[in-house]
Amino acid sequence: VTDVFISSDNIITSLGFSTGENAVNMLADKTGIQLTENERIAPTPFYASLINSAQLFDRFSTFDDPDKFTRFEQLAICSLKDALSGSEIDLTDSKTLFILSTTKGNIDLLEKENELKFSRERIYLWNTAHLLQTYFKFRHEPVVISNACISGVQAIITGARLIRANLFKNVVINGTDIITEFVLSGFNSFQSLSTGPCRPFDKTRNGLSLGEGSGTIILTSKPVMSAGTNYILVGEGFSTNDANHISGPSRTGEGLFIAINRLSKKSPLDVDYISAHGTATLYNDEMESIAITRAGLQSVPVNSFKGYWGHTLGAAGIIESIMGIWSINNSVILNTKGYNISGVTNPIFIINKPVQKEINTCLKIASGFGGCNAALIFYKK
């Protein structure tokens, strides 16, 4: 069986433009979620974690003309550029695949003010992927994965499978989503937005906070080995459907439970740490606590990163997986920012202050609209 290694990564959120910068700010217990006034996104102030536009503009200007690219494209390019600079893989190899994970891509191009700035085709997700392909000179045709909030986890699962099946040697995955009036108004219509910074798994939680993010993870079957480094492998991963409701999670956690259970013939699964989806909506967190308990993992440390950078949609599965891998490498589990007292009926082990712990395996889980769920393992070689 071909092993799938992590070659390099990058995270861009309101907390920084690299994985390291994000980690430093998270260790310092900072959050990027703030009360924001932005007339273009919403008529009234809202809580969200937005990437500073001036900073993004300045950064992008150091290597290219920001006016030629949309906000979404600028973020994805910055993230890919940083991750690729730390990787040895050959982009022009026909065995290198580029996957874009996003829910909405350049959706702000539907706004009146943007209609004339870019060509009509620019809004199509395949077109965004092609633009990034051309920019970085990937030879193989790119693929977009769009599966609501599990997109990022699903993209890593898919990339790892394609490498294990020897169809590709390297898979470069970028997950990006921006916060627009389109997205904010939609979540608002569902009444799923929190009245303050989100509080995953907490008794007082009352909704999610949206966030902007771009993350890149590079998978390879042929890592450049150097002595003294931990090598992290991408293990098995599965997606499932609740077959229950398109906009609400299953009350029994059925789909997520099946996905976790599939990861191992042994039950319960042998895992040291769970990076939960933890959006801080009443139903999601409750459902996750049920699925985790049903899988017999109620004593395994769990956290959610959403209190730091909000729900970053198509980027979430990528940047949270990267932080899971960072946790393995640094033997530390970060606290669940915003969490204080458990507000889920099944008592699971939610981490509320940073814990030093040797981590050999990390389970990443995610769930989303359309009833989809995903579970994926990372482990130390």
């Binding site: 395949w126 599966n147 394609l162 939609g186």
Partner: protein, 213 residues
């Protein structure tokens, strides 16, 4: 190990025409997909009230699966978590995205609706099919510029080969305004060579796709 994957049935819907397993089974006259899909629903006496709440992408995907000839049989033959649903298209959910954008374009007439917004994700079509047929297995929605038989076949073959699925509903389901085309395959593993419509291979699915163009 040489495993044989066959197309047990397929359904294509485009330009007012429904084809199932190489036979035209219904044709309509409406220029509007909403009307045409409603007429298909009526003609085949589908009874599923949730259909009427779906957006056009979900309706197209739902009907394409509903009319597959073996779907009732495969629902019984396989467990819910043994069936996968892999869909692809070129426009994602843009058809409904435009609809949602229309509801927020004017601040004095602002009426975003959860029943529209939920369909601004293409994989919700997979959710609708899963609910209808009680399918719990692997689901994935890919977006590519054009129908890509090579990618579809190699991705699905490895799902079978690694025993992630035993049966697959896979297809290209594209809608952008009143331009729509779908071709959905029911794929199973067999050790016989005389079963099904054709082998599940890039060449054969390209041929089926081309036939509808």
């Amino acid at each position: 190990v040489k495993e044989n994957y066959i197309i047990s049935s397929y359904c294509s819907i485009q330009k007012n025409l429904v084809v199932v397993d190489n036979k035209s089974v219904y044709s309509g006259t409406s220029a509007d997909f909403g009307e045409f899909s409603a007429s298909i629903y009526k003609h085949f006496a589908v009874s599923y009230p949730k259909f009427h709440k779906m957006d056009n992408l979900s309706k197209l995907a739902f009907l394409s699966v509903e009319l597959l000839s073996g779907n009732k049989k495969s629902d019984q033959k396989y467990k819910g978590d043994e069936i996968g649903i892999i869909l692809m298209n070129s426009s994602s959910s843009l058809d409904t995205d435009r609809h949602h954008q229309d509801t927020i374009i004017d601040r004095s007439n602002y009426f975003p609706s959860p029943s529209v917004f939920v369909y601004t994700l293409p994989n919700v079509a997979i959710g609708e099919i899963s609910i209808r047929h009680k399918i719990f297995g692997e689901g994935n929605f890919f977006i590519m510029e054009k129908f890509n038989p090579q990618f579809m076949v190699s991705y699905i073959q490895q799902l079978f080969y690694n025993e992630i699925i035993k049966c697959c509903i896979a297809g290209w389901v594209e809608i952008d305004g009143n331009d729509y085309e779908s071709v959905v395959f029911l794929i199973e593993k067999t050790d016989r060579t005389d079963e099904g419509i054709a082998n599940f291979e890039p060449g054969t699915i390209q041929k089926i796709y081309n036939k509808m163009k």
